[in-house]
């Protein structure tokens, strides 16, 4: 007879890892199912120089059409030819995904900002959308718990819209960031070190960052938070956690008592179908994959009495920004500027109260800025000329690079932005894929246009000189990369090429996303308005929890991962209490 677990956790990213740790520590027998393969950062992540790789960090020509990644990290990304998605006719959306033990925590940007009540209760303030079913007071203990465990390096600022937390010392600012900080002061804007889940000293038996700058390619020592190095070891130590990788969950199975019975998964390589049962099922497979599973598990969608499942999809608005150089730094010595992959944050300072209310748009955004030497001089090919003088100019500008970008621009929730099951397309395992319908609103465009004005203002005050062709990523002409002749602008799974000069926000182009997809199973005080309650438990199925960005009724302007984890921690407490009060 098959084992019945106390809980099945689907997914091993930030939320799945946290849930597995909390539940197994509480004595529950937990099965974690991960669709991707096992990876060992200490063995599989190499701090290679670009010239040590055949394709210089770009992946084999043509392969980037299948992976959102580079030669360094594409192996931990999802192969979109195996698990595609489709889009509606007006939709331009790049869904960046991973399928690997640890999920996106292996290569995330690590930004860890707390959301504030002006975001949780934004609907009450400006009348748009739905308030969150939690307040900052509800979330604070869980933010404290998560930050205290994973380690967040940051400085306290005392700003209500940017709540302080349990911080390790911040990372020092480099020259470009120091200049941008001075520019902020001159403009009367508050700025601070980017808050990062990256250690600046030994913490919970993990070594501090060694400033190699390879964070998004996977940290080999676990100095940046990721599931494999941080939450899985204590979970496995309990002896209560079993991890099965290469297991593609196809659906949640229900019993006759309106409870989840367990799940059916397909072994990734053998295609064998397997049923496993549990008292509780936790979906933590990433926001949209969670919703896909609920859509797959019942006609009309599981736990969908509100008819909101799949709706209100959002992703923080991207686009715009400025790249260029800071002439003050031109011609200086080469320095380790990109070793921390950090920068400064300028918390939102508009639409946080009546005094700061804008008439032309609602909600807000966080600005980031950084600069200095980088691994590759993205701007060089666009710099006119050639020869020795050109080489000298490249080197002179190389150390003076600078950029301002939007860290989190709030996108308004709209019911028509939604995901559904594609009636025709299936993945490699025969499971229907998602079809995404996603467009931006006028408010989104106005918000980005305002950001662009502020970004220009900041860059100018810092003395910057805007330049085209700068930014991160490889050259646009690399075979198979975005912008090359063989890949259209809407190609799936493309890497993120650099933005050049002044961004094109508001100029009629589609706005970008931030790989911060949230919503589609929003939380609500009333079961009529959403799929989840404030504990991320479904209103309709008491033993089904959904951890990820699904619960977000709005995006806020902070990077979402820390809030997703705090919601997961809160949900785990609730689940454990429920489990204690119920007979096995």
């Amino acid at each position: 007879m098959a084992t019945t677990y106390d809980a099945i956790v689907i997914g091993s990213g930030a939320c799945g890892g946290w849930a597995a740790m909390e539940l197994s520590k509480a004595g529950m027998k937990v099965l974690m199912l991960e669709a991707g393969s096992h990876i060992d950062p200490a063995k599989d992540f190499h701090h290679t120089f670009l010239y040590q790789m055949e394709y210089r960090g770009q992946a084999k020509p043509g392969a980037l059409r299948r992976y959102a990644g580079s030669e360094r990290n594409y192996r931990i990304m999802l192969d979109s030819s195996e698990n595609p998605y489709t889009t509606g006719p007006d939709t331009v959306y790049n869904w960046g995904r991973s399928r690997v033990l640890g999920g996106r925590t292996l290569h995330w940007a690590r930004a860890s900002d707390r959301m504030a009540d002006y975001e949780f209760k934004a609907a009450s303030r400006d009348g748009y959308g739905l308030d969150w079913a939690v307040s900052y007071a509800d979330m604070k203990p869980y933010y404290d718990r998560v930050e205290g465990f994973i380690g967040v390096s940051a400085a306290k600022e005392g700003l209500p819209q940017f709540p302080d937390g349990v911080f390790l010392p911040p990372m020092p600012l480099n020259c470009a960031e120091t200049i941008f900080t001075a520019a902020c002061k001159s403009l009367g804007w508050r700025s601070t070190h980017r808050r990062l889940a990256q250690l600046t000293r030994m913490h919970n038996n993990r070594p501090p960052c060694h400033y190699c700058g390879n964070c998004v390619n996977g940290c080999d020592v676990g100095a940046m938070f990721n599931t494999v190095a941080v939450t899985l070891p204590p979970a496995l130590k309990t002896g209560n956690l079993e991890v099965r990788t290469d297991t593609v969950v196809a659906r949640v199975r229900m019993n006759n008592e309106n409870r989840a019975q367990g799940v059916t998964y397909i072994e990734r390589n053998t295609m064998k179908s397997v049923d496993v049962d549990a008292r509780y099922v936790v979906l933590a497979a990433s926001t949209l994959e969670n919703t896909r599973l609920m859509l797959l598990s019942a006609k009309g969608g599981l736990a969908n009495s509100s008819d909101t499942l799949g709706h209100y999809m959002m992703d923080q608005v991207g686009g715009g920004g400025v790249t260029g150089i800071l002439p003050k730094l031109k011609g200086g010595p080469s320095r380790l500027d990109d070793g921390k992959s950090a920068g400064i944050s300028i918390p939102n300072f508009q639409n946080i109260d009546k005094k700061t209310a804008r008439k032309d748009f609602i909600r807000g955004y966080v600005i980031n800025a950084t600069g200095g030497q980088s691994e590759y001089p993205q701007f060089a090919a666009a710099l006119p000329g050639y020869g020795s003088e050109w080489k000298k100019e490249v080197k002179s500008r190389y150390v003076a690079q600078a950029r301002v970008w939007i860290a989190g621009g709030e996108m308004l929730s709209q019911k028509e932005n939604r995901v559904e099951l594609d009636p025709e397309v299936k993945d490699r395992w025969g499971i229907p894929v998602l079809k995404i319908h996603f467009t931006h609103s006028d408010n989104d465009r106005k918000l980005i246009a305002d950001f662009q004005e502020k970004a220009d203002e900041l860059f100018k005050r810092a003395g910057g000189e805007a330049m085209p062709g700068m930014g991160r990523g490889g050259p646009t002409g690399f075979p198979g990369a975005p912008g090359s002749p063989d890949v259209g602008a809407g190609g799936q799974g493309g890497g993120r090429g650099g933005r050049g000069g002044r961004g094109a926000a508001g100029g009629g182009r589609a706005l970008g996303g931030s790989i911060h997809e949230v919503g589609t199973a929003r939380m609500s005080a009333s079961p009529k308005d959403g799929v989840l309650n404030s504990f991320c438990q479904t209103h309709d199925v008491p033993n089904l929890y959904v951890f990820g960005g699904n619960a977000f009724p709005s995006t806020g302007d902070k990077h979402p991962t820390l809030t997703m984890m705090a919601l997961s921690a809160r949900g785990c407490d609730h689940l454990i209490e429920q489990a204690k009060g119920r007979k096995a």
Partner: protein, 199 residues
């Protein structure tokens, strides 16, 4: 910033003082050793170029096209007081990339067209001085938008890929730009310049 021996000893002592830290510290040290990621792996001590290009025999371009491409890349990025396209073997790398681009025939075709356009300017048959003059003429639209040249697109394509091949090579990244990242550091170097604290 390179760690001193004292930094390492201090770190080891701090690590050993924490329960369970020895395992993590061992992982770190192992990673440092296995990935040449120790105190000596920055600057001129960065790992050597792999043998890929040293023994590479061109496969994609015809011999005369390859010779022309090689000369073109060395005009674009000459060897001066720092290494250039010759040391970085940029033409070899471009050939390697093109022969590996069977799945992207549009790119291969673009390069065939580019070399054809270059050949039609007389570049292949020209001497060094003539070639330099031809590149100068081809590049003019880059500086003067009213100018045109039938091989301008070829110039841009070759320049773009040569730039990539050079600055991702050891010669370009370490030799010319003195890249400091991808190294083991005990701390992050903060800005210490008073002039950067004001605008």
């Amino acid at each position: 910033m390179l760690p001193t021996r004292r930094d390492l000893v201090d770190l080891a002592v701090r690590a050993a003082a924490l329960p369970g830290a020895a395992e993590f510290f061992a992982t770190w040290l192992r990673a440092a050793q296995e990935h040449q990621h120790d105190a000596g792996s920055t600057g001129s001590n960065a790992p050597p170029e792999p043998p890929l290009l040293l023994d590479y025999v061109p496969k994609f371009f015809a011999a005369d096209d390859f010779e022309a491409l090689q000369a073109f890349t060395e005009i674009l990025i000459p060897t001066d007081d720092t290494p250039g396209a010759r040391q970085a073997r940029c033409a070899h790398y471009i050939d390697f990339l093109m022969q590996a681009s069977g799945d992207v025939p549009q790119t291969q075709n673009a390069w065939r067209d580019a070399l054809k356009a270059v050949k039609e300017t007389g570049f292949h048959a020209a001497d060094a001085k003539g070639r330099a003059a031809l590149v100068e003429a081809m590049s003019k639209p880059e500086r003067d938008r009213s100018a045109t040249h039938p091989a301008y697109n070829a110039y841009r394509l070759i320049k773009q890929q040569t730039t990539f091949a050079f600055y991702t090579s050891r010669a370009g990244m370490i030799g010319a730009l003195e890249y400091k990242g991808n190294s083991y550091n005990a701390s992050f170097p903060a800005c210490t310049h008073p002039e950067h604290h004001t605008v």
